[in-house]
């Protein structure tokens, strides 16, 4: 009988990380890149929201008065009409019950394909399954940029090193 094989993410995705997003300590993002170049943006497990005891009060994809990621629509095979995002484009804002607000960013350049409406209905999904059902958004990088978009990101090993140094040397930062 086969042992539990690597998970779906292990099998088909490469994990990339962006730590301390926009200089904010521990606000780590995870970018799951499928072999077909599509990227799923999630919170990294070290993100402050996922640390013990936090609960979510509100999630909004309305990132400014004029811009809501919920209004994103794509059509056809070429995904016409999707909002084009750069690395620092905000995807959503999450407020915890302690009234601290966090912004989740795109981390990569690409076309926004979809956001996760399920976490609006059930914010707890984000805490329970941050790397699967609690994803933030799906982004399609340009074909010609599918390799270069990950250049500024950390690999899983680099990320683990950053996180372990953090707990060893700067435990008070997070």
């Amino acid at each position: 009988m086969p042992q539990k094989a690597p998970s779906v993410i292990d099998r088909y995705y490469t994990r990339w990380y962006k730590t301390d997003m926009k200089g904010k300590p521990c606000e780590d993002h995870c970018i799951l890149q499928h072999s077909n170049r599509i990227c799923v943006i999630t919170l990294a497990e070290s993100h402050p929201i996922l640390q013990d005891g936090r609960t979510i009060k509100n999630i909004t994809y309305q990132i400014s008065d004029g811009c809501s990621r919920l209004k994103n629509k794509v059509s056809g095979k070429s995904k016409r009409g999707g909002q084009f995002l750069t690395e620092f484009a905000p995807l959503c804002r999450i407020t915890c019950t302690d009234d601290v607000e966090y912004t989740v960013f795109s981390c990569i350049r690409g076309r926004l394909l979809e956001v996760n409406e399920a976490i609006l209905k059930r914010p707890s999904l984000l805490l329970e399954k941050p790397s699967t059902e609690g994803y933030i958004a799906v982004i399609l990088p340009k074909f010609e940029e599918s390799k270069s978009i990950t250049e500024g990101l950390l690999t899983r090993a680099q990320y683990e090193e950053v996180v372990s140094k953090r707990t060893n040397h700067q435990p008070d930062l997070c």
């Binding site: 009988m1 086969p2 539990k4 094989a5 998970s7 779906v8 088909y12 499928h34 077909n36 170049r37 599509i38 799923v40 794509v74 059509s75 056809g76 095979k77 995904k79 394909l113 979809e114 996760n116 399920a118 999904l125 399954k129 699967t132 059902e133 994803y135 799906v138 399609l140």
Partner: protein, 529 residues
């Protein structure tokens, strides 16, 4: 022999004057008897001159029909004409008949540019037949297609206007549509000869087409005035080398007034100094379609070649394994593979197999007995143990559509090896058999989203059954609507398929192996062993 009427005589004289060849004269006299064109060029000339000479006895026209350059004098026919010099009947009209290779100095027909003079003979037919033989086709029939330079239509129109004046004066009823087209006259003549050379009949809807083409650089500019008079007919298109396509020229000629045409183009057309050049003779046999069902026993074999960024990711494919023996037996130039749905690289297709059809392009052999097809199936099956083919048969293009129609409504049966995170017992699986006609919403799976539109599709899982293997594994059998993504139903695809097996089982589930057990499409019909 050639059905000509008295009222054709003035037309014949005018065309002789203009420099028309004998077959073009028959065309403009609307002679629709195919055998007339098949006479040798000399014989047509002889008949025409005899016909005009007869009238000469009453009218004494002065017409010389020269059947061959530097012919012995007895072949030259001189016809006296009392009306000589009157009107536009010239004192001597000459038509040069070329019945062979001796074209030097002979006058080339002003209308067909030599197509009906120098290429309607056994010599050219032999050349065409040899080109076909060189390709080594096994054929049962043939059809000829001809591509003529676009300016031929301009010259035809000019000549028609030239005799139309005459025709009106004589109040004869004759329309441009009654004139036999160069293409037709050419086919009537050459096709029969080629057919005899190759010993196969001519068939209007034959799958085997021999294409003959001509160009005539000297007169290419003939069409150019039309671009200024009918500019809207000549719009540049991406894939055409010249805007002066035959279709565009014909359309422009339909629009232009007679006056305008005559102001811009000589009536009758000027005499060319060279004849048309024949282009390469090309052969094309219509596609043959072969259908069957295949099993795929490997989890490392894609259905079609798997290429990413121009690099091959895996050796071989189902379609290549099936195609290789077919290509060599049918001696085809290529193929198009299609099937009723497809499975992923790591999915096996068991049971009766998946219906497929293979279009074989330009096959050089297309007739096979049932026994030969069975041998071919055997050859495919011997070539690899990764696949197996059954029910192999030759089908029509129309029958092939049965494979695709109603594809969405068909059901497919699968068997999957499932892992569960939570430890399970037999009773944890009992509820699965009670689930009937479960509708699920599937967003386009992330794994195919890069090449398919984003949509939510409803699919129905008709029934399921489960058998426990151990506390973390069980076999799930499903009967689903075609188009259901089974892997995503099991692992949920980031919650993008709802409900999914994780929701139903209330634990994380994953799919380790998947087999297609049956594809319920009743085509192609079974072939008895």
């Amino acid at each position: 022999m050639i059905p000509l009427k008295d009222k054709d005589k003035p037309i014949i004289r005018k065309l002789l004057d203009a420099g028309c060849c004998a077959r073009c004269i028959l065309r403009f006299c609307c002679v629709a008897v195919q055998s007339a064109y098949r006479l040798s060029y000399e014989d047509i000339c002889r008949e025409l001159s005899a016909f005009v000479r007869d009238s000469e006895k009453e009218q004494t026209h002065d017409v010389t029909i020269q059947t061959q350059k530097d012919d012995p004098p007895q072949k030259k026919l001189k016809l006296e004409n009392s009306q000589a010099g009157e009107h536009d009947t010239s004192a001597a009209a000459t038509v040069t008949a070329e019945c062979g290779r001796d074209t030097a100095g002979a006058s080339v027909c002003v209308v067909c540019l030599g197509v009906l003079q120098d290429f309607c003979n056994h010599g050219f037919a032999k050349k065409v037949a040899e080109a076909v033989k060189a390709e080594n086709y096994e054929i049962e029939s043939l059809v000829l297609s001809v591509s003529l330079p676009a300016q031929l239509s301009v010259r035809e129109h000019s000549c028609w206007l030239h005799i139309k004046k005459e025709v009106r004066e004589k109040s004869m009823c004759l329309g441009k549509d009654d004139v036999i087209q160069v293409k037709e006259a050419f086919k009537w003549t050459l096709q029969t000869m080629v057919s005899k050379e190759l010993r196969v009949p001519v068939l209007a809807n034959s799958p085997f087409e021999v294409a003959v083409g001509f160009t005539h650089a000297e007169t290419d500019a003939d069409c150019h005035f039309l671009a200024t008079t009918c500019s809207d007919c000549f719009k540049p298109t991406k894939n055409k080398l010249s805007v002066f396509t035959r279709m565009a020229v014909v359309k422009a000629l339909e629009k232009i007034s007679d006056d305008k045409f005559c102001r811009n183009f000589p009536c009758p057309p000027t005499k060319p100094s060279t004849e048309c050049s024949p282009q390469d003779i090309t052969c094309l046999h219509g596609s043959v379609f072969v259908a069957g069902r295949y099993n795929k026993f490997s989890r490392e074999l894609p259905q079609t070649p798997w290429v990413i960024d121009g690099e091959r990711r895996m050796e071989g494919s189902v379609e290549e394994l099936i195609a290789a023996p077919l290509l060599s037996s049918f001696r085809a130039e290529g193929f198009n593979f299609s099937s009723s749905g497809r499975e992923d690289v790591d999915v096996r297709t068991l049971g009766n197999g998946r219906p497929f059809a293979m279009e074989l392009l330009n096959p050089h052999r297309s007739q096979f007995t049932k026994a030969e097809i069975r041998q071919l199936q055997e050859a495919i099956n011997q070539s690899s143990d990764k696949i197996r083919v059954r029910d192999l048969q030759i089908v029509t293009r129309e029958a092939m559509s049965r494979m695709k129609e109603g594809e969405e409504e068909k059901t497919k049966s699968y068997s999957a090896l499932i892992w569960t995170q939570r430890s399970i017992e037999k009773k944890d699986l009992e509820f699965i058999e009670n689930i009937k006609e479960l509708t699920i919403d599937q967003k386009t799976p992330l794994r195919v989203l890069h090449r398919r539109p984003l949509a939510v599709r409803q699919r129905v899982i008709h029934s399921m059954s489960a058998s426990l293997l151990d506390c973390h594994h069980f076999t799930l059998r499903l009967r689903t609507q075609a188009g259901t993504y089974i892997k995503e139903f099991v692992h949920g695809d980031f919650g993008r398929t709802k409900p999914n097996l994780c929701d139903l089982m209330q634990t994380e589930t994953d799919i380790l192996e998947l087999d297609v057990e049956s594809v319920d499409v009743d085509w192609p019909p079974a072939v008895p062993e």
